[in-house]
Amino acid sequence: MGNRKQLEIITESAIEWLIRICGISAILFVFGIFFFVFREGAEFLFGGLDLWQFLTSPEWYPTSVSQKRYGVLALMAGTASVTLLSMAIAVPFGLGAAIYVSEFCGPKAKETFKIVIELLAAIPSVVWGFIGLTLMNELIITLFDAPIGLTVLNGGIILALMSVPIIVSIGEDALKAVPDSYREAAEALGSTRWQMIYRVLLPAAKNGLLAAVLLGVARAVGETMAVLMATGHAVKIPGSVLDSVRTLTATIAAELGEAPVASDHYQVLFIIGILLFTITFAVNLIADLVVKGIKEQ
């Protein structure tokens, strides 16, 4: 008996430590990655790079022989335009589907729907890029009579299709977490399904729904391969959705292999990495603050 107790105490504390190490290592990894990226770009960031020009100039000529220029405004515009378009498509579709699955579906249809959504989420991004490069490209050329189909529109639609599964599944979780007693209370007061949904359900689930949307945004900002293939690789500020663009992520992916290690070009790509890091960090921070603000009301 005594032995067994001792053993239990040992395994208990061992498990506790294991879990603690898992937790701490997650934090360490995040800082480690940030540190590494930062170190690779630090030298040029603090010596040589004109930060103002970097952020405000649309001229990206990292390999020019006569005059190298490192302006990422056009790349940021590329990321922003593709992300905004994809969210304009994915948010209404994703939230609508989440509401449908959680409130209107029978149990059987729900199962099927969830499997389909999971399948959609499991498609590798390079396959999405492939669809953008071939099918969507031709579709846009014929539909809009455009010279090229690799555009903001193409990338936005592809990214929307990639973000919808995230928004649906997280959004559905958020709706499912709303106690059924709220629905029952509203319906017993005579509200219709729709009134119940927009007066009770959506306000009650808004934190979770916001999280769903922001995870979708993060997915869209960070996605690389699909947008690299679908947006046409033109460094310019887009004037319409039928213009080609290039995103921050696509630039890193396309150029890092060719930039000589430790050259200015190489370091600038890491600085773009830091920029991406900062953008996603800001999105998360804003989300946290908004959620906290909602809670305190």
Binding site: Y182, A188, L189, T192, P203
Partner: protein, 258 residues
């Protein structure tokens, strides 16, 4: 009971199944207008189920089948032309666990108006008046008049339950159904809510489910005793507790079932 008693709720051979489990068996009752009717019986006998038939919230569960008739003010509520929102407007319900909506106190009270009003914008002054009147009627106005913007889910349980009653009043219901409205409250709050029920009686027809014998005696005018999905006895409350006709009622009242 004289012949000219007006009945608000009458059921005729009502049967209800959850899947293939029969929860109500041949229930035929007449619930009189303007009084408090208590619904008592051991746990699991179908009190909640019967109550939830009257405003058809039972149908929220997918596996429910019903046969028989329920007439509310003479109208069969299973007729095709019955609109559920209208039915539920006329029949308010108070649940076992207080379930205010996760919005402000004010919005809870006017929720029914907003949902049922054809007009897009109800005048603010009109709503303010309704809120004050409803909260006064449940004796909450003095406590909550400065907290109208507070989230209702953060109130004390007693206040929450009173608020759940208050939010029914702007719709001027005929009937208020209460499912063990005090079971989540302490004894003092229970007394307060019981007093409230007594002030509401007369204006509304009230049906209250309770497993608390003493409460049934204190508040109800008539009592219905149910056992295993069937109605055993329905008489005036004093009669039921002093001279029960059915030996099973006597057993229950004397505490021989759970």
């Amino acid at each position: 009971m004289s012949n000219d008693t007006k009945y608000t709720i009458t059921t005729d051979k009502l049967n209800l199944w959850y899947g293939d489990f029969q929860a109500l068996i041949n229930v035929t009752v007449n619930i009189a207008d303007g009084i408090i009717t208590g619904l008592i019986g051991p746990s699991g006998c179908g009190k909640t189920t019967l109550l939830r038939c009257f405003n058809r919230v039972n149908e929220r569960y997918g596996n429910v089948t019903t046969t028989g008739e329920i007439l509310i003010n003479g109208k069969n509520i299973y007729d095709d032309d019955v609109s559920l929102p209208e039915l539920r407007k006329a029949i308010g319900m108070v649940f076992q666990r207080p379930n205010p909506l996760p919005i402000s106190v004010y919005e809870n009270v006017v929720f029914g108006l907003r949902v049922h009003s054809r007009r897009k914008n109800i005048k603010k002054s009109e709503m303010d008046e309704v809120v004050e009147k409803s909260l006064r009627e449940v004796f909450l106005w003095d406590d909550l008049k400065d907290k109208l913007d507070k989230k209702a889910t953060g109130l004390q349980l007693e206040q929450q339950q009173k608020l759940c009653i208050a939010r029914l009043l702007p719709l001027k219901p005929d009937i208020i159904l209460m499912d063990e409205p005090c079971s989540a409250l302490d004894s003092e709050s229970t007394r307060a809510v019981e007093e409230l029920m007594l002030t509401l009686a007369g204006k509304y027809t009230i049906v209250i489910v309770t497993h608390n014998m003493a409460q049934a005696r204190r508040v109800s005018d008539e009592c219905i005793f149910m056992l295993l999905g069937e109605i055993m006895e329905h008489t005036r409350t004093e009669e039921m507790f002093l001279t029960p006709k059915n030996p099973k009622t006597a057993d229950y009242i004397e505490g021989r079932y759970g």
